[in-house]
Amino acid sequence: MINIKKFISSTLFLISSLIFLLNIYLIFIWVPTELNQGIAQRIFYFHVPIGWLGMISIVVVAIASFTHLITKNEKWDNLAYSSAELGIIFASLILVTGSIWAKPIWGVWWTWDPKLTTTLILWFFYLGYLMVRSYSPIGIQSKQYSSVIALIGAIDAPIIYMASVWWRSAHPNPNIPTDLDNKMLITFLISLISFTILYVYILNKRYNLKKIESKIDAIYRTIN
């Protein structure tokens, strides 16, 4: 009898790998170069999907934390923690890739643009969540404190999304231009799908590990 979970995990890995190979070809070879920004515009095919997943992660953390607060079920907390760990990686990558794009286009590595500032705040929320989990004594209280941080952090996600609409920002509005070249649109969508599949694959891996970690911790507590 085939192990369904392992089969799903392997399939996700295989699909993710194949789609990423295609993605690399599209970004570096196939897609046309943008007139004004040149090659640096291709950074968007990494930066935007990473930004999208950074925001999705905090929403997953918040929903899982909220459910954990209500049900007290350990599995929701495991999911929240796993997504927070991935979230800080994505949030860090948003800031780093954004800075690398900003240098040739804006001439600076960093500016206090509303979108950048709110993204930095999101990064601090992730950091706060993980620090509370690391430094609080093991038990139900640290999980509750971190859940509250996640819920407050989730408020930042729509603010990041709407920052360029609500305030004067150098970032474009969060919608796909209607006159966007087809090749650019296809590359962007494939990039978005490939990063999302990678997120699901790694989240699944981390969740399974966290589940075993929690069980081992519980056994140690029983023994001691």
């Binding site: 790998s17 090659i39 070249d181 081992i216």
Partner: protein, 107 residues
């Protein structure tokens, strides 16, 4: 079905795919990274002028930096996960030892 079952059990398949990804990354990107300018501008609308050529070629390093940092972050995290897995295996062995010691004491 049995063939798929066997494939899922073999971890070397994952390593092979990872190696293929890295290989393809360099294969696909070498033209862009090592050339002065990408020649794939086929769309009339996106044609660039000579002055832009200079700018775009100098921006290649930024694109490659993003590409490199993104993958280093992902592979670094996967490495962290594999270390975690090793720690868990060590904990399981430790628990097994504790259990076997308890059993021998009871006997």
């Amino acid at each position: 079905m049995q063939y798929i079952e066997q494939l899922t059990k073999k971890s070397f398949l994952k390593m092979l795919i990872a190696a293929l990804i890295i290989g393809f990354m360099f294969f696909f990107t070498q033209d862009v990274i090592f050339s002065n300018y990408s020649t794939n501008i086929t769309n009339e609308f996106y044609k660039v002028t000579d002055t832009h050529k200079q700018e775009t070629s100098s921006n290649l390093i930024y694109l490659f930096a993003v590409f490199f940092i993104t993958w280093v972050a992902f592979f670094g995290y996967l490495f962290f996960l594999s270390k975690k897995q090793q720690d868990i295996m060590r904990d399981v062995k430790e628990l097994e030892n504790i259990l076997s010691q308890d059993k021998s004491k009871n006997i």
